[in-house]
């Protein structure tokens, strides 16, 4: 049952060289740089996003994920979910308003997979980038690169996926839209939605805590994916695979790496999910088909190359 979590609202990613990272996320993927703070963090957004930003880059000697934030409906929902997390047994801590620019207070917890999540209710809304508030055009001029529309979801890897799935469904009200199950009926992959999207967050089992598999950005069409892949070659950016189709979610995809080794995806299409839909199930022994529906096999480094 839905509990007032709206969407993945932001992600803070560690990169090893900020200027290289901006060439990648801003100039190649086409996110809009909107702000910088006194900690050296750079804030970006996809042009369709109404909130001020969704991607926060921070320089570090180790790439990977710092945290992912989900926006909730309002302060009352935030307070309720904070109590629910504490009652469930989570250790909860808070960041005060303004620690992230233009963002309200954030309620944080760590999942059994070792990932830091946070919930927040307030963020400045600057509107879709480059569009008028009244009588808007369908898209703005002066977009660059892949022209990514929005930050869409992440796939995170770590141990204890069944416990993490339970936390997200029971406390945060996410639906299990698709799952990968092992022959002994254990969930090895949980694709979860708090909206009509096929997934707003995904967890896949691996022995190491807190790993980032990929950060995904939404493009409009299959043709946009083709041109995104062209841009990877033009800019000598390391492609992982694609353009191709996923079995899971039936989305269309290109995977590639940023200049610090964090895996990115651009994708489009895919299934939708209503709260009364039973989860779509994939067998772990058919994982090749589930992940790469055309290739039917997973290349050796796909599940091992993580940050």
């Amino acid at each position: 049952m839905r509990k007032g979590v709206i969407r993945p609202g932001h992600i803070q990613l560690r990169v090893m060289d900020m200027e290289e990272a901006l060439k990648h996320y801003r100039d190649l993927i086409g996110l809009i740089e909107v702000d910088r703070d006194d900690k050296g963090r750079v804030y970006l957004k996809g042009w369709t996003e109404v909130d001020k930003y969704s991607v926060v880059l921070v320089e570090s000697d180790t790439p990977g994920l710092d945290f992912i934030g989900f926006k909730v409906l309002n302060e009352k929902v935030l307070n309720g979910l904070k109590n629910d997390l504490i009652d469930y047994g989570c250790e909860v801590f808070e960041h005060e308003a303004g620690e992230l620019d233009s963002c309200g207070r954030r309620v944080c917890f760590v999942t059994p997979t070792g990932h830091t999540f946070e919930l927040y209710a307030e963020k400045e809304q600057t509107g879709k980038w480059g569009l008028a508030k009244i009588n808007p055009d369908p898209w703005p001029l002066n977009l660059t690169g892949m022209k990514a529309e929005r930050f869409d979801h992440c796939l995170l890897m770590g141990p204890n996926v069944p416990a993490t799935k339970m936390l997200f469904s029971e406390v945060l009200g996410f639906d299990l839209s698709e799952q990968v199950v092992t022959p002994d009926n254990t969930i090895a992959g949980a694709f979860m939605s708090c909206s009509m999207k096929a997934h707003d967050i995904a967890f896949v089992e691996c022995p190491d805590f807190g790993k980032l598999h990929h950060v995904s950005f939404h493009l409009e069409t299959w043709q946009d994916l083709l041109k995104a892949a062209d841009l990877l070659t033009m800019t000598e950016t390391k492609k992982d695979i694609g353009p191709t189709r996923h079995g899971l979610t039936s989305g269309q995809t290109v995977y590639f790496f940023d200049r610090s080794g964090n895996r990115n995806e651009v994708f489009c299409g895919g299934d939708y999910h209503y709260p009364d839909h039973p989860p779509v199930t994939w067998k772990a022994e058919d994982l090749g088909k589930a992940i790469f529906y055309h290739e039917l096999v997973i290349h050796p480094t796909y599940l091992e190359v993580l940050t």
Partner: protein, 92 residues
Amino acid sequence: MMIYRINIDGKSFNCPEGQTVLIAMTRTGNTFLPVGCCSGGCGVCKVIVLKGDYETKVMSRAKVSIEEEAKGIALACRILPASDLTICRVKA
């Protein structure tokens, strides 16, 4: 342009100046090392340089510690040779 010879576990390939060891390996059709992010982040192409001079581009500290770096351990996707090199794979 200088061409350096990269020796790895008894086999070898050429690496033009300014190219990383891992890119040179893939361009010469060799598969001695696994290829991951090619950006110094994932660590699957970890090696130790036994002989030769080189520079490295930035590498994840979670994959190559300061102590390891001092011993000649590096990620092949970040190694720019400055001479012929003899390297050996290190399991990540």
